[in-house]
Amino acid sequence: MSADGRNGSEKAVVFEGVSLRFDEQVVLEDLSFELEHGATKVLLGVAGSGKTTILKLTLGLLRPDSGRIFVLGQEVTAMRERELFELRRRIGMVFQESALFDSQSVEANVAFRLREEKVPEEEIQRRVHEALRFVEMEKTVNLFPAELSGGMRRRVAIARAIISQPEVLLYDSPTAGLDPVTSTTIVELLVKQRDYYKTSALLVTHRLQDAFTMATHSFNQQQNKMVPVPPDTNWDPRTSFLVLKDGHRMFEGSASEIANSGDEYIREYLAP
């Protein structure tokens, strides 16, 4: 618990003055932000601005030089690796290159966490099929990652991340390197996860259109697809933006605020 008596329990993720350097290079400098429960924060910035590092710090895969990080009320920066394994079971992460276990089948990849938790095999099979149905990849259950396309691997990675219904999801450029159609499919899955399961999420992306699609669409369960929010309503208030530059926070605010920002760097960044 911090000196002011706050332990971040009311937020899904809290960064307090986090700094990190690799040798002489500044990766993050005095970064602070908060992620509300059920909200999505889109992390934007040019390559090397520290976006992926934020996700790894949130999971405790990296340690900051200074500052504190709270996830689901627990101070990640004060926990030992052994204690972190428990917390990580409440968080899901989709890696940029999917990071599927290439010597294991899709079924074994998706079921990995449940098998580690000694869940009965019958329930594992039910939940694996449920997760694969969610990402529309049921037919690939017996295939190996090498047999899948890039987009299919991302979808399996999403299924692996959501199978235990985590409270926080971390997406590292889930649409990077994919064609527009596949990217839209992936973004639709993220919107579905946000609106259906109300999961808190940090989304790293280079693709502005994906970020704005997140903010301007909601998932319609009847039609089983995402639809644009009506023109007379505000953009999704649970989706906010954080723009990084050289490890510093350049902007933090809603979709409409970033779209109307007068800051020269932001305008240049948003320019097509």
């Binding site: 394994f85 428990e86 990580r88 968080i91 990071a99 599927l100 290439d102 580690e116 692996r160």
Partner: protein, 259 residues
């Protein structure tokens, strides 16, 4: 960037520290749950059963050439009948454990380094940590226990096949009596010799698995980094085996008395 002796020394000290921590954790994990028995058995199959052909062939040819070389010297003193004794002592105390370990190091330390190295550079190790699983417990501990356990039995097999190789030479080229060969080979061995020959593979198994896993988990820089880690693992494991062999041999000689 200019070469700095201090930075070089710091880097090496850090590597030793990281290797020691990894080795300790992997060993300590053997005494707590979960133990991943399935992974241990799978590694035993890969390391133990998979190494059978090369260990048997190495043992056979080593025993055979040992008989051939020693017979040459022994004949000068009219002591050709002692060939069995010499092959037996050399194989059981020294060549069996060391050559078996070097073969297993070449085959499995490289395999471990390349497998874990590939997982490291493709973020699969991070993914495992992100899924709440300890990679040391899931990947390193099964390899450690399987190598230590299987190398013990592979060495026994290598000793036996080496003696058989020597017996083939003794019979076909040296025209020695086979019964005399095996009797002298058997009778010359004492418990201290067998003890020395069977302590070593357990220690060497520890070295092979921890060095292979350490270099794999430290791999950086894509496929080139994996290749570098694989080479370094085999070189480091082989040199460490020979260095530790010298120390352990001397130590056991002191502890068990003159052999």
């Amino acid at each position: 960037m200019a070469f700095s002796l201090t930075e070089y020394a710091k880097g090496n000290v850090l590597a030793v520290q990281e290797y020691s921590i990894l080795s300790w954790r992997a060993f300590a994990n053997l005494f707590s749950q979960p133990l991943y028995l399935g992974d241990i058995l799978q590694q035993m199959d890969t390391i133990g059963v998979g190494s059978l052909p090369i260990v048997a062939l190495t043992g056979f040819f080593t025993g055979a050439v040992l008989a051939l070389q020693s017979a040459n010297s022994l004949a000068r003193f009219g002591a050709l009948a002692f060939t069995g004794q010499l092959v037996s002592m050399s194989m059981v105390r020294e060549l069996g454990p060391v050559l078996t370990s070097l073969m297993v190091a070449g085959r499995n330390a490289s395999g471990m380094a390349s497998e874990l190295g590939s997982m490291q550079v493709t973020e699969q190790i991070d993914a495992m940590r992100a899924l709440g699983t300890d990679p040391t417990r899931k990947l390193v501990t099964p390899r450690l226990s399987a190598t230590m356990f299987m190398l013990f039995f592979l060495t026994i097999l290598s000793d036996l096949v080496g003696l058989a190789g020597g017996s083939v030479i003794a019979l076909l080229l040296l025209r020695l009596d086979l019964n005399e060969y095996w009797t002298s080979a058997w009778q010359t061995l004492r418990y201290a010799d067998v003890f020395m020959g069977l302590v070593k593979p357990v220690l060497f198994g520890f070295i092979i698995s921890t060095v292979g896993c350490y270099y794999g988990l430290s791999a950086k820089g894509g496929t080139q980094g994996v290749g570098r880690a694989t080479t370094q693992a085999v070189v480091a494991a082989s040199v460490l085996i020979l260095a530790v062999d010298l120390i352990v041999t001397r130590l056991l000689m002191v502890l068990l008395g003159p052999l």
